[in-house]
Protein backbone atom coordinates (compact mmCIF):
# COMPACT_ATOMS: atom_id res chain seq x y z
CA UNK A 1 0.00 0.00 0.00
CA UNK A 2 1.25 3.47 -0.89
CA UNK A 3 1.98 5.50 2.28
CA UNK A 4 1.92 9.24 2.77
CA UNK A 5 5.55 9.24 3.90
CA UNK A 6 7.14 10.37 0.59
CA UNK A 7 4.63 13.20 0.32
CA UNK A 8 5.16 14.29 3.89
CA UNK A 9 8.96 14.04 3.76
CA UNK A 10 9.08 16.40 0.76
CA UNK A 11 6.85 19.03 2.31
CA UNK A 12 8.92 22.09 3.34
CA UNK A 13 7.29 22.03 6.76
CA UNK A 14 8.55 18.55 7.56
CA UNK A 15 11.73 18.51 5.46
CA UNK A 16 14.83 17.36 7.32
CA UNK A 17 12.89 15.68 10.11
CA UNK A 18 14.50 12.61 11.70
CA UNK A 19 13.17 9.57 9.72
CA UNK A 20 11.91 7.95 12.91
CA UNK A 21 9.88 11.08 13.72
CA UNK A 22 8.60 11.24 10.18
CA UNK A 23 7.44 7.67 10.51
CA UNK A 24 5.62 8.53 13.73
CA UNK A 25 3.91 11.47 12.05
CA UNK A 26 2.97 9.38 9.02
CA UNK A 27 1.22 7.01 11.42
CA UNK A 28 -1.06 9.91 12.43
CA UNK A 29 -1.80 11.05 8.84
CA UNK A 30 -4.73 10.49 6.52
CA UNK A 31 -6.00 11.93 3.26
CA UNK A 32 -9.10 14.14 3.44
CA UNK A 33 -11.18 16.17 1.00
CA UNK A 34 -13.58 19.02 1.52
CA UNK A 35 -16.18 20.28 -0.95
CA UNK A 36 -16.53 23.98 -1.67
CA UNK A 37 -18.38 25.62 1.21
CA UNK A 38 -17.81 22.71 3.62
CA UNK A 39 -16.96 23.71 7.19
CA UNK A 40 -13.66 22.11 8.26
CA UNK A 41 -13.89 23.26 11.86
CA UNK A 42 -15.68 25.83 13.94
CA UNK A 43 -14.51 28.29 16.57
CA UNK A 44 -14.73 26.81 20.09
CA UNK A 45 -14.68 23.17 18.98
CA UNK A 46 -11.96 20.87 20.22
CA UNK A 47 -8.81 21.22 18.08
CA UNK A 48 -7.68 17.68 17.56
CA UNK A 49 -6.11 17.89 14.10
CA UNK A 50 -4.04 19.99 11.76
CA UNK A 51 -3.90 19.93 7.99
CA UNK A 52 -1.34 20.19 5.22
CA UNK A 53 -3.24 21.59 2.26
CA UNK A 54 -2.40 19.74 -0.96
CA UNK A 55 -4.63 21.83 -3.22
CA UNK A 56 -7.67 24.08 -3.00
CA UNK A 57 -8.36 27.05 -0.78
CA UNK A 58 -9.44 27.43 2.84
CA UNK A 59 -10.82 30.62 4.37
CA UNK A 60 -10.29 31.35 8.05
CA UNK A 61 -13.30 33.29 9.24
CA UNK A 62 -14.59 34.92 12.34
CA UNK A 63 -18.26 35.50 12.99
CA UNK A 64 -19.21 38.97 14.19
CA UNK A 65 -22.83 39.62 15.21
CA UNK A 66 -24.35 42.18 12.88
CA UNK A 67 -21.53 41.91 10.33
CA UNK A 68 -21.68 38.23 9.56
CA UNK A 69 -18.57 36.15 8.82
CA UNK A 70 -15.39 38.04 7.97
CA UNK A 71 -12.50 36.30 6.25
CA UNK A 72 -9.27 37.04 8.05
CA UNK A 73 -6.90 34.77 6.14
CA UNK A 74 -6.86 32.31 3.26
CA UNK A 75 -4.62 29.31 2.95
CA UNK A 76 -3.75 27.43 -0.21
CA UNK A 77 -1.53 24.68 -1.59
CA UNK A 78 1.36 23.86 0.71
CA UNK A 79 0.04 25.86 3.69
CA UNK A 80 -0.44 24.47 7.17
CA UNK A 81 -3.90 24.88 8.62
CA UNK A 82 -4.28 24.95 12.40
CA UNK A 83 -1.97 25.08 15.39
CA UNK A 84 -4.56 25.10 18.20
CA UNK A 85 -4.06 21.33 18.65
CA UNK A 86 -0.60 22.13 20.06
CA UNK A 87 -1.47 24.94 22.44
CA UNK A 88 -3.86 24.65 25.40
CA UNK A 89 -6.83 24.82 25.70
CA UNK A 90 -6.78 22.97 22.36
CA UNK A 91 -9.77 24.79 20.91
CA UNK A 92 -10.16 26.30 17.45
CA UNK A 93 -9.98 30.09 17.49
CA UNK A 94 -11.65 30.62 14.09
CA UNK A 95 -13.94 28.90 11.62
CA UNK A 96 -12.26 27.21 8.65
CA UNK A 97 -14.32 26.86 5.48
CA UNK A 98 -13.24 25.29 2.18
CA UNK A 99 -13.50 28.02 -0.46
CA UNK A 100 -13.29 25.44 -3.25
CA UNK A 101 -12.73 21.70 -3.54
CA UNK A 102 -9.77 21.17 -1.20
CA UNK A 103 -7.57 18.15 -0.68
CA UNK A 104 -5.39 17.92 2.40
CA UNK A 105 -3.49 15.58 4.65
CA UNK A 106 -5.05 15.54 8.11
CA UNK A 107 -2.76 14.86 11.06
CA UNK A 108 -4.18 13.57 14.29
CA UNK A 109 -3.17 16.21 16.81
CA UNK A 110 -4.27 14.27 19.88
CA UNK A 111 -2.11 11.33 18.89
CA UNK A 112 0.81 13.65 18.08
CA UNK A 113 0.42 15.53 21.38
CA UNK A 114 0.85 12.26 23.28
CA UNK A 115 3.87 11.36 21.19
CA UNK A 116 5.42 14.79 21.82
CA UNK A 117 4.99 14.31 25.57
CA UNK A 118 6.83 11.01 25.51
CA UNK A 119 9.47 12.10 22.95
CA UNK A 120 10.59 15.66 23.69
CA UNK A 121 12.90 15.75 20.67
CA UNK A 122 9.86 15.33 18.45
CA UNK A 123 7.97 17.88 20.56
CA UNK A 124 10.78 20.44 20.24
CA UNK A 125 11.09 19.90 16.46
CA UNK A 126 7.36 20.37 15.91
CA UNK A 127 7.19 23.37 18.23
CA UNK A 128 10.06 25.05 16.32
CA UNK A 129 8.34 24.49 13.01
CA UNK A 130 4.96 25.70 14.24
CA UNK A 131 6.59 28.72 15.92
CA UNK A 132 7.88 29.91 12.54
CA UNK A 133 4.40 29.62 11.03
CA UNK A 134 2.89 31.50 13.97
CA UNK A 135 5.61 34.15 13.52
CA UNK A 136 4.86 34.73 9.85
CA UNK A 137 1.09 34.86 10.48
CA UNK A 138 1.69 37.35 13.31
CA UNK A 139 3.82 39.54 11.03
CA UNK A 140 1.17 39.44 8.34
CA UNK A 141 -1.57 40.30 10.85
CA UNK A 142 0.41 43.24 12.20
CA UNK A 143 0.99 44.59 8.71
CA UNK A 144 -2.70 44.45 8.04
CA UNK A 145 -3.46 46.21 11.31
CA UNK A 146 -1.27 49.07 10.09
CA UNK A 147 -3.80 49.58 7.30
CA UNK A 148 -0.78 50.28 5.14
CA UNK A 149 -2.51 50.94 1.83
CA UNK A 150 -4.37 53.86 3.35
CA UNK A 151 -1.48 55.79 4.81
CA UNK A 152 0.62 56.42 1.73
CA UNK A 153 0.55 56.27 -2.05
Amino acid sequence: METLEPLLSEHPFLKGLDPKHLQLITGCASNVRFDAGQIIFREGEEADQFYIIRNGKVALQIYTPGRGSIIIDTLTEGDILGWSWLIPPYQWRFDAVAGELTRAIALDGKCLRNKCESDHDLGYELLKRFASIVDSRLESTRLRLLDMYDSNP
Binding site: K57, A59, Q61, R67, G68, S69, I70, I71, I72, D73, T74, T76, E77, G78, V97, G99, E100, E139, S140, L143, R144, L146, D147, M148, Y149, D150, S151, N152, P153
Partner: protein
Protein backbone atom coordinates in the same frame (compact mmCIF):
# COMPACT_ATOMS: atom_id res chain seq x y z
CA UNK B 1 19.67 95.77 -15.73
CA UNK B 2 16.68 93.98 -17.26
CA UNK B 3 19.00 92.17 -19.61
CA UNK B 4 21.13 90.95 -16.72
CA UNK B 5 18.03 89.81 -14.77
CA UNK B 6 16.68 87.97 -17.78
CA UNK B 7 19.99 86.25 -18.31
CA UNK B 8 20.41 85.14 -14.71
CA UNK B 9 16.78 83.95 -14.45
CA UNK B 10 17.22 81.93 -17.62
CA UNK B 11 20.33 80.33 -16.22
CA UNK B 12 18.65 79.44 -12.96
CA UNK B 13 15.23 78.32 -14.17
CA UNK B 14 15.57 75.38 -16.52
CA UNK B 15 13.65 76.46 -19.65
CA UNK B 16 10.14 75.18 -20.32
CA UNK B 17 10.17 72.51 -17.65
CA UNK B 18 8.79 74.95 -15.07
CA UNK B 19 5.87 76.11 -17.20
CA UNK B 20 2.73 73.96 -17.18
CA UNK B 21 0.89 73.33 -20.43
CA UNK B 22 -2.90 73.14 -20.59
CA UNK B 23 -4.30 69.69 -21.34
CA UNK B 24 -8.03 69.12 -21.90
CA UNK B 25 -9.75 66.24 -20.13
CA UNK B 26 -11.43 63.88 -22.58
CA UNK B 27 -12.69 61.33 -20.06
CA UNK B 28 -13.05 60.86 -16.31
CA UNK B 29 -13.79 57.60 -14.57
CA UNK B 30 -14.42 56.68 -10.96
CA UNK B 31 -12.34 53.60 -10.14
CA UNK B 32 -13.10 53.16 -6.44
CA UNK B 33 -14.67 55.30 -3.70
CA UNK B 34 -11.50 57.45 -3.46
CA UNK B 35 -9.69 56.81 -6.73
CA UNK B 36 -10.38 58.10 -10.22
CA UNK B 37 -8.75 58.10 -13.65
CA UNK B 38 -8.55 61.02 -16.05
CA UNK B 39 -7.66 60.88 -19.71
CA UNK B 40 -6.18 63.99 -21.29
CA UNK B 41 -5.81 65.06 -24.87
CA UNK B 42 -2.10 65.40 -25.60
CA UNK B 43 -0.53 68.06 -27.83
CA UNK B 44 -0.73 67.61 -31.62
CA UNK B 45 2.59 65.78 -31.79
CA UNK B 46 1.53 63.31 -29.10
CA UNK B 47 2.90 62.60 -25.63
CA UNK B 48 5.92 60.35 -25.14
CA UNK B 49 6.83 58.77 -21.83
CA UNK B 50 8.52 55.69 -20.45
CA UNK B 51 6.71 53.38 -17.96
CA UNK B 52 7.34 54.60 -14.40
CA UNK B 53 7.64 58.31 -15.21
CA UNK B 54 5.41 60.97 -13.65
CA UNK B 55 3.96 64.37 -14.46
CA UNK B 56 3.41 67.39 -12.24
CA UNK B 57 -0.35 68.09 -12.39
CA UNK B 58 -1.37 71.68 -11.73
CA UNK B 59 -4.79 72.72 -10.43
CA UNK B 60 -4.62 76.47 -10.85
CA UNK B 61 -5.22 78.29 -7.59
CA UNK B 62 -4.98 75.12 -5.52
CA UNK B 63 -1.57 73.56 -6.07
CA UNK B 64 0.56 71.10 -7.97
CA UNK B 65 1.14 67.39 -7.28
CA UNK B 66 3.30 64.65 -8.82
CA UNK B 67 1.24 61.85 -10.36
CA UNK B 68 2.59 58.87 -12.27
CA UNK B 69 1.40 58.19 -15.77
CA UNK B 70 -0.85 55.12 -15.72
CA UNK B 71 -1.72 54.63 -19.40
CA UNK B 72 -0.34 52.68 -22.32
CA UNK B 73 3.06 54.06 -23.43
CA UNK B 74 2.43 52.97 -27.02
CA UNK B 75 -0.71 55.12 -27.23
CA UNK B 76 0.71 58.59 -27.82
CA UNK B 77 -2.72 60.10 -28.30
CA UNK B 78 -3.90 59.68 -24.76
CA UNK B 79 -2.36 60.73 -21.47
CA UNK B 80 -3.77 58.85 -18.49
CA UNK B 81 -3.45 59.48 -14.75
CA UNK B 82 -5.00 57.52 -11.90
CA UNK B 83 -5.34 59.57 -8.74
CA UNK B 84 -6.30 58.86 -5.18
CA UNK B 85 -8.05 61.73 -3.47
CA UNK B 86 -6.20 62.29 -0.19
CA UNK B 87 -5.74 66.02 0.30
CA UNK B 88 -6.40 69.52 -0.94
CA UNK B 89 -5.18 69.19 -4.54
CA UNK B 90 -6.26 65.63 -5.27
CA UNK B 91 -9.71 66.19 -3.72
CA UNK B 92 -10.20 69.21 -5.98
CA UNK B 93 -9.09 67.08 -8.93
CA UNK B 94 -11.76 64.55 -8.05
CA UNK B 95 -14.37 67.12 -9.14
CA UNK B 96 -12.88 67.52 -12.61
CA UNK B 97 -15.17 66.85 -15.58
CA UNK B 98 -14.74 66.15 -19.26
CA UNK B 99 -13.75 69.39 -21.00
CA UNK B 100 -11.95 70.86 -17.96
CA UNK B 101 -8.27 71.76 -18.21
CA UNK B 102 -5.30 70.61 -16.13
CA UNK B 103 -1.79 72.08 -16.19
CA UNK B 104 0.90 69.50 -16.93
CA UNK B 105 4.68 69.56 -16.61
CA UNK B 106 6.60 66.49 -17.55
CA UNK B 107 7.24 63.66 -18.07
CA UNK B 108 9.89 63.46 -15.36
CA UNK B 109 11.94 60.80 -13.64
CA UNK B 110 13.40 57.39 -14.23
CA UNK B 111 11.58 54.32 -15.54
CA UNK B 112 11.02 50.62 -14.83
CA UNK B 113 13.70 48.41 -16.40
CA UNK B 114 11.36 46.72 -18.91
CA UNK B 115 13.82 46.82 -21.84
CA UNK B 116 16.76 45.83 -19.67
CA UNK B 117 14.83 42.80 -18.37
CA UNK B 118 14.24 41.12 -21.72
CA UNK B 119 14.80 37.36 -21.38
CA UNK B 120 14.01 37.33 -17.65
CA UNK B 121 10.98 36.30 -15.68
CA UNK B 122 9.17 39.37 -14.35
CA UNK B 123 7.45 39.74 -11.01
CA UNK B 124 5.37 42.86 -10.51
CA UNK B 125 4.33 43.50 -6.91
CA UNK B 126 1.79 46.28 -6.46
CA UNK B 127 0.13 47.61 -3.32
CA UNK B 128 -2.94 49.87 -3.40
CA UNK B 129 -2.58 52.86 -5.73
CA UNK B 130 0.93 51.49 -6.52
CA UNK B 131 -0.67 49.49 -9.33
CA UNK B 132 -1.17 52.74 -11.30
CA UNK B 133 2.55 53.57 -11.83
CA UNK B 134 3.18 49.92 -12.77
CA UNK B 135 0.37 49.67 -15.31
CA UNK B 136 2.35 51.23 -18.22
CA UNK B 137 5.05 48.66 -17.60
CA UNK B 138 2.48 45.84 -17.67
CA UNK B 139 1.15 47.18 -21.00
CA UNK B 140 4.66 47.32 -22.39
CA UNK B 141 5.55 43.81 -21.28
CA UNK B 142 2.28 42.36 -22.58
CA UNK B 143 2.71 43.96 -25.98
CA UNK B 144 6.21 42.45 -26.16
CA UNK B 145 5.22 39.28 -24.38
CA UNK B 146 7.44 36.91 -26.38
CA UNK B 147 10.55 38.71 -25.13
CA UNK B 148 10.03 37.68 -21.49
CA UNK B 149 9.88 34.47 -19.52
CA UNK B 150 7.12 34.01 -16.95
CA UNK B 151 5.28 37.18 -16.00
CA UNK B 152 3.58 37.40 -12.63
CA UNK B 153 1.46 40.23 -11.24
CA UNK B 154 0.86 40.24 -7.48
CA UNK B 155 -1.56 42.87 -6.24
CA UNK B 156 -2.65 43.63 -2.69
CA UNK B 157 -5.21 46.13 -1.52
CA UNK B 158 -7.46 46.87 1.48
CA UNK B 159 -10.82 45.34 0.57
CA UNK B 160 -12.45 43.93 -2.58
CA UNK B 161 -14.06 47.38 -3.11
CA UNK B 162 -10.60 49.00 -3.33
CA UNK B 163 -9.47 46.88 -6.27
CA UNK B 164 -8.27 49.17 -9.07
CA UNK B 165 -8.77 48.42 -12.78
CA UNK B 166 -11.09 45.56 -11.87
CA UNK B 167 -12.23 44.74 -15.44
CA UNK B 168 -8.72 44.85 -16.81
CA UNK B 169 -7.42 42.61 -14.03
CA UNK B 170 -10.11 40.07 -14.95
CA UNK B 171 -8.97 40.18 -18.57
CA UNK B 172 -5.34 39.77 -17.56
CA UNK B 173 -6.24 36.92 -15.25
CA UNK B 174 -7.85 35.09 -18.16
CA UNK B 175 -4.58 35.13 -20.14
CA UNK B 176 -2.46 32.01 -20.11
CA UNK B 177 0.77 33.95 -20.39
CA UNK B 178 0.27 36.09 -17.28
CA UNK B 179 -0.18 34.88 -13.71
CA UNK B 180 -2.32 37.33 -11.72
CA UNK B 181 -2.77 36.88 -7.98
CA UNK B 182 -4.81 39.34 -5.95
CA UNK B 183 -5.18 39.56 -2.20
CA UNK B 184 -7.07 41.87 0.11
CA UNK B 185 -6.50 42.75 3.76
CA UNK B 186 -10.03 41.85 4.76
CA UNK B 187 -13.23 40.67 3.14
CA UNK B 188 -16.75 39.44 3.79
CA UNK B 189 -17.37 35.72 3.48
CA UNK B 190 -18.70 36.03 -0.08
CA UNK B 191 -15.18 36.96 -1.34
CA UNK B 192 -13.73 34.00 -3.22
CA UNK B 193 -10.19 35.33 -3.51
CA UNK B 194 -7.20 35.53 -1.19
CA UNK B 195 -7.10 37.38 2.11
CA UNK B 196 -3.72 38.36 3.57
CA UNK B 197 -0.88 40.73 2.83
CA UNK B 198 0.64 40.89 -0.65
CA UNK B 199 3.87 39.24 0.54
CA UNK B 200 1.97 35.98 1.14
CA UNK B 201 1.52 35.76 -2.64
CA UNK B 202 5.26 35.67 -3.35
CA UNK B 203 5.87 32.02 -2.39
CA UNK B 204 2.58 31.04 -4.04
CA UNK B 205 3.50 32.31 -7.49
CA UNK B 206 5.54 30.53 -10.13
CA UNK B 207 8.74 32.13 -11.37
CA UNK B 208 12.42 31.30 -11.45
CA UNK B 209 13.84 33.50 -8.67
CA UNK B 210 17.37 33.23 -10.03
CA UNK B 211 16.31 34.69 -13.37
CA UNK B 212 13.75 37.23 -12.21
CA UNK B 213 13.48 41.00 -12.29
CA UNK B 214 11.06 42.37 -9.69
CA UNK B 215 9.26 45.72 -9.92
CA UNK B 216 7.68 46.81 -6.65
CA UNK B 217 5.44 49.81 -6.03
CA UNK B 218 3.22 50.71 -3.10
CA UNK B 219 3.45 52.18 0.37
CA UNK B 220 6.98 52.07 1.76
CA UNK B 221 6.20 49.46 4.41
CA UNK B 222 4.70 47.20 1.78
CA UNK B 223 7.78 47.63 -0.44
CA UNK B 224 10.13 46.95 2.48
CA UNK B 225 8.46 43.67 3.38
CA UNK B 226 7.98 42.63 -0.26
CA UNK B 227 11.68 43.14 -0.94
CA UNK B 228 12.60 41.03 2.11
CA UNK B 229 10.39 38.20 0.90
CA UNK B 230 11.67 38.44 -2.68
CA UNK B 231 15.23 38.22 -1.36
CA UNK B 232 14.25 35.30 0.87
CA UNK B 233 12.97 33.34 -2.10
CA UNK B 234 16.18 33.94 -4.05
CA UNK B 235 15.68 37.03 -6.26
CA UNK B 236 19.01 38.87 -6.60
CA UNK B 237 19.15 42.20 -4.80
CA UNK B 238 20.34 43.91 -8.00
CA UNK B 239 17.23 42.71 -9.82
CA UNK B 240 14.74 44.37 -7.49
CA UNK B 241 13.39 47.82 -8.39
CA UNK B 242 11.20 50.06 -6.26
CA UNK B 243 9.44 53.37 -6.81
CA UNK B 244 10.00 55.99 -4.11
CA UNK B 245 7.36 58.61 -3.45
CA UNK B 246 8.36 61.51 -1.25
CA UNK B 247 7.62 65.23 -1.18
CA UNK B 248 8.05 67.01 -4.45
CA UNK B 249 7.79 70.59 -5.63
CA UNK B 250 9.77 71.41 -8.77
CA UNK B 251 10.12 67.90 -10.22
CA UNK B 252 13.41 68.77 -11.91
CA UNK B 253 16.10 68.60 -9.24
CA UNK B 254 15.94 72.33 -8.53
CA UNK B 255 14.23 72.99 -5.19
CA UNK B 256 15.60 70.19 -3.00
CA UNK B 257 12.18 69.20 -1.62
CA UNK B 258 12.56 65.59 -2.67
CA UNK B 259 16.16 65.22 -1.60
CA UNK B 260 16.99 62.08 0.41
CA UNK B 261 20.67 62.15 1.29
CA UNK B 262 22.57 62.44 -1.95
CA UNK B 263 19.67 61.54 -4.20
CA UNK B 264 16.86 63.64 -5.66
CA UNK B 265 13.81 61.46 -6.13
CA UNK B 266 12.41 63.65 -8.93
CA UNK B 267 15.39 63.15 -11.21
CA UNK B 268 17.32 60.13 -9.90
CA UNK B 269 14.00 58.34 -9.18
CA UNK B 270 11.19 57.63 -8.62
CA UNK B 271 12.27 54.18 -9.89
CA UNK B 272 15.47 52.96 -8.26
CA UNK B 273 17.33 49.68 -8.04
CA UNK B 274 16.53 48.66 -4.45
CA UNK B 275 20.24 48.46 -3.64
CA UNK B 276 20.62 52.21 -4.26
CA UNK B 277 17.92 53.21 -1.77
CA UNK B 278 17.97 50.45 0.81
CA UNK B 279 19.58 52.79 3.35
CA UNK B 280 16.83 55.37 2.86
CA UNK B 281 14.25 52.64 3.46
CA UNK B 282 15.47 52.07 6.99
CA UNK B 283 16.33 55.67 7.81
CA UNK B 284 13.74 57.36 9.98
CA UNK B 285 12.42 60.90 9.61
CA UNK B 286 13.80 61.86 6.24
Amino acid sequence: MTAILEKSTKEIIPSQEMIPEYFRITKTQKDTHDTFTIELEPPKNGFNFTPGQFNMLYMFGVGEVPISISGDPSDRNKLTHTIRAVGSVTRTMQKLKKGDFVGIRGPFGTHWPAEESIGNDIVIVAGGIGLAPLRPSIYHILSNREKYGKVVLLYGTRTPNDILYRKELEQWRARFDLEVLITVDRAASDWKGNVGVVTTLIPRSHFDPFNTVAMVCGPEIMMRFSVQDLLKCGVAVNNIYVSMERNMKCGIGFCGHCQCGSTFICKDGPVYPYNNVKDIFIKREI
